[in-house]
Symmetry: C2
Subunit: 319 residues, 2 copies
């Protein structure tokens, strides 16, 4: 069967499995984060898109935890007619669309525990009769430390690589490079907001069987997240920090804000097309500092982190 002539019922069943996985993953990640934090709990805001537009989401926010100062683990299942804005901004051509994904950002209180972001999404474009015209997966995970611990960077990258490798040894190097390129502040000489991870988009199935393979690929990515991030949290959560460390964390958080509001396609498109503002901007850090032309001292730990953001490194040395 041609990819482009899929029956509605078949893709409905496929979508259903992805939606179910995304909601289970949301539960799993929130549970794990609450368990490690030990103090704060996620609060859920269920929302629906305004009348005439389809779907809604579950925004789950944690704040003022013992470890996590602010974080969100959000899911949404949305659909609608393709608008002119989508056609011009996203080069999307079709009659209707469907999207379902999970998006998370975690900002720890301690400057020694890195911030992380991850997102896994599935998108469909339909013909007027509802049959699938185009569909793809996108996603990735990345790490934003304030102090560089090479063993943490290696662990994070290696865990992602281990999840990707069964689907092709070429994937990790490609998606790692795409991540380095995407999450960079072009207005600051391509300074990355952190030490990267993986990033992929428009990963299209070649047919029904391939769609199953890509669903497994996407699930493998989602499943490895807690394994990639939580051991780092555990290792760094009890390190003592002072005002100087906090100051540097807040300066770097400023770069995070700059990237998200100036360059991040999802954020800008969401805000300009009447997305749910509070769910989109939950990604912004809780406290932030902007200083004129701030430069870390040469040879300092802060300068070492900045250097890693300016010069992407290969963190996985073994195959």
């Amino acid at each position: 069967m041609e990819e482009t002539s899929l029956h509605k019922t078949e893709t409905k069943e496929f979508r259903g499995r992805w939606i179910e996985y995304v909601h289970n993953l949301q539960d799993h990640i929130c549970n794990e984060l609450e368990r490690i934090d030990g103090k704060a709990k996620f609060l859920e805001d269920k929302w629906e898109r305004e009348e005439g537009k389809g779907g809604g989401g579950r925004t789950r926010v944690i704040s003022n935890g013992s470890i996590f100062e602010k974080g969100g683990v959000n899911t949404s299942v949305v659909h609608g007619r393709v608008t002119d804005k989508m056609r011009s901004h996203l080069q999307m051509d079709g009659a209707t669309w469907f999207a379902c994904g999970l998006s998370l950002v975690i900002h720890p209180l301690s400057p020694f525990v890195p911030t992380t972001h991850a997102n896994w999404r599935y998108f469909e474009l339909h013909h007027e009769d509802g049959s699938v015209k185009d569909r793809w997966f996108g996603g990735g995970a990345d790490l934003t430390p304030y102090y560089l611990f090479e063993e943490d960077a290696k662990h994070f990258h290696q865990t992602l690589k281990n999840a990707l490798d069964p689907f092709g040894k070429d994937l990790y190097p490609l998606y790692k490079r795409q991540c380095d390129e995407y999450f960079s502040n072009k207005h600051r000489g391509n300074e990355m907001r952190g030490i990267g991870g993986i990033f992929y988009d428009h990963v299209r199935p070649a047919g029904e069987e391939d769609a199953e393979r890509l669903l497994s690929f996407q699930i493998a990515n989602g499943n490895c997240f807690t394994e990639a991030y939580l051991p780092i949290v555990n290792k760094r959560k009890d390190t003592q920090w002072n005002e100087k460390h906090k100051h540097w964390q807040e300066i770097r958080r400023g770069r995070y804000v700059e990237f998200n509001l100036i360059h991040d396609r999802g954020t800008i498109f969401g805000l300009k097309t009447n997305g749910r503002t509070e769910s989109i901007l939950m990604s912004l850090p809780p406290t932030v500092r902007f200083e004129y032309d701030y430069q870390p001292k040469e040879g300092s730990e802060e300068a070492k982190l900045l250097d890693a953001c300016l010069h992407p490194k290969e963190w996985c040395t073994d195959n």
Copy 2:
């Protein structure tokens, strides 16, 4: 003489007078702000555009003052060939261009002293032979209080109106409305970042005589700034504030960041066309807070300010 066939020497002399005024105004404003602050001094960074591009600027930054936590009063005199990006993004058609202006943003420490922003600029587009093809003035000033004192809002607006009225009674209402429309966070239901002021752009002279009139108009605007802002600083600088007031100020500063990075045309264009990043982003507040779905208590002073940002008011009742 046709506006479009101005001699190079004539416009050079005109430009020269504007450049001289802008630098004098920078000195004047910096001196006045230093005088009232009594502690901090402006530090100057002189910069030049990279090789092959013309001009440069004087970035003057104040920080950690007794009143002013962070501020910049910047001038630049820049010129160059019209690039493809300028053609497509700014709908600018010509061979070369010239721009000179002053841009300032002042973020006080106290939540009771309002933030202010002002900008006055002059732009020329030239034919290949250097004669003027098009030219215009733009500018304005606006106020961003964290607590609403109606008498302050009235004083600020009335001072701007008094400067504009000699050039046409229709100008203040028009430029006031343009300011309300421009400085609004469209992704937050058109919530303004403050209580406005005036904003104008592409104000073109009809001929040589009219250019002189517009130069006087622009100078009247620049001259009235200290009179509009400093009396408010003096009135509010000694008001005691606490952590609760600071928290609200930092939440509102978050909205300031959102506007500048998501919507402000000058900021976005500057950053995407290799403008001087540190000079452009000096506008960002020193400490900022982002909380999920923060809402001030009904009937509170914070809610009163928010209401004024959501529903622009007429602050000048007399003519």
